[in-house]
Symmetry: C2
Subunit: 181 residues, 2 copies
């Protein structure tokens, strides 16, 4: 869980020309805020969502599947009372969804009037280690069990996922060269 | 959850003489690692332990209390099968306990031969924002439901909690002046 510390270390050590960070103190502070935001409020929640989903899959006790079309907020409390095992999944599913919504708000510019291509920086922002740290998790939303229907609430976030995926260096990074086999 | 970002901001902005951080790049990187460690691997786990403990307390479904003397590792799997509501509590209780053990290892110097007064820095270390961010949570171990017996496993951590608590500025900070009333 110190991956974010590594990103800041690499930034300070190797990125003297500020390709992936900022010289400006306030911009850099914004970057660090987004990096911590995902590190503390995103990753542990998406991670625990995965943990409890896997635990459910591996459990000998089977529950009725959550209908794929249901939004987190539509999950019936009666189901939770009958199947308390689902309380944790429900909590982390809802909380991760809420956090994805925070990223959507930032990228959409809903409250600032400034839609952004990347999380931090003036104007449309620049691609920084905040995006790098966050993207590697958020891109896995299908594995976390969210549906395309649910993700339609986050159009700017989906575009951001694609925008970063299209970068040649990102393609190399997630390509066969670094596969753990 | 961006409290750690605030700590780094204050450090950069106001602590020009490095009272609570380091000039040395490697020492500062160590500080940032511990800050992120607690931010991502400590706080969300201790926080969710509290969430699920409160949920259990407020639930109309009551379970047999976990015997106070039992270590997390001694919780019987049979209890978990009978009372699946406890799975989440058990997970976050064990994981937070494990993370407290990581802090104990660092402070004890078990693998380095160098016992430390504070988390980061050469020798015994110095009191930095990594301690500040971590202490504010860890000191609440009784509220998180750990017993004095369990905490005996972490003698260096307990001393570290006391060492920081004794600082006059810390006493002012947690004193009546800043109480939310």
């Amino acid at each position: 869980m110190e991956t974010s510390a590594q990103l800041l270390y690499l930034l300070n050590k190797l990125d003297k020309d500020n390709h992936f960070g900022f010289k400006d103190e306030l911009d850099q502070s914004e970057l660090v805020q987004w990096l911590f935001f995902w590190h503390g409020s995103g990753a542990p929640y998406q991670g625990n969502l995965g943990f409890f989903r896997r635990a459910q899959e591996q459990s000998p006790c089977k529950f009725p599947p959550i209908p794929p079309s249901s939004r987190p907020s539509e999950m019936m409390s009666t189901v939770l009372i009958q199947y308390p095992q689902l309380v944790a999944i429900n909590r982390f599913r809802k909380e991760t969804y809420r956090v994805l919504g925070v990223l959507e708000l930032q990228l959409s510019g809903k409250y600032t009037g400034q839609p952004k291509d990347f999380l931090a920086g003036k104007g449309k922002g620049i691609y920084t280690v905040a995006d790098i740290g966050t993207w590697a998790w958020v891109k896995n939303w299908p594995t976390s069990g969210y549906t395309a229907e649910e993700m339609k609430e986050f159009p700017h976030l989906l575009k951001w996922i694609e925008r970063i995926a299209e970068r040649p260096a990102v393609q190399r990074g997630i390509g066969g060269k670094y596969l753990l086999s």
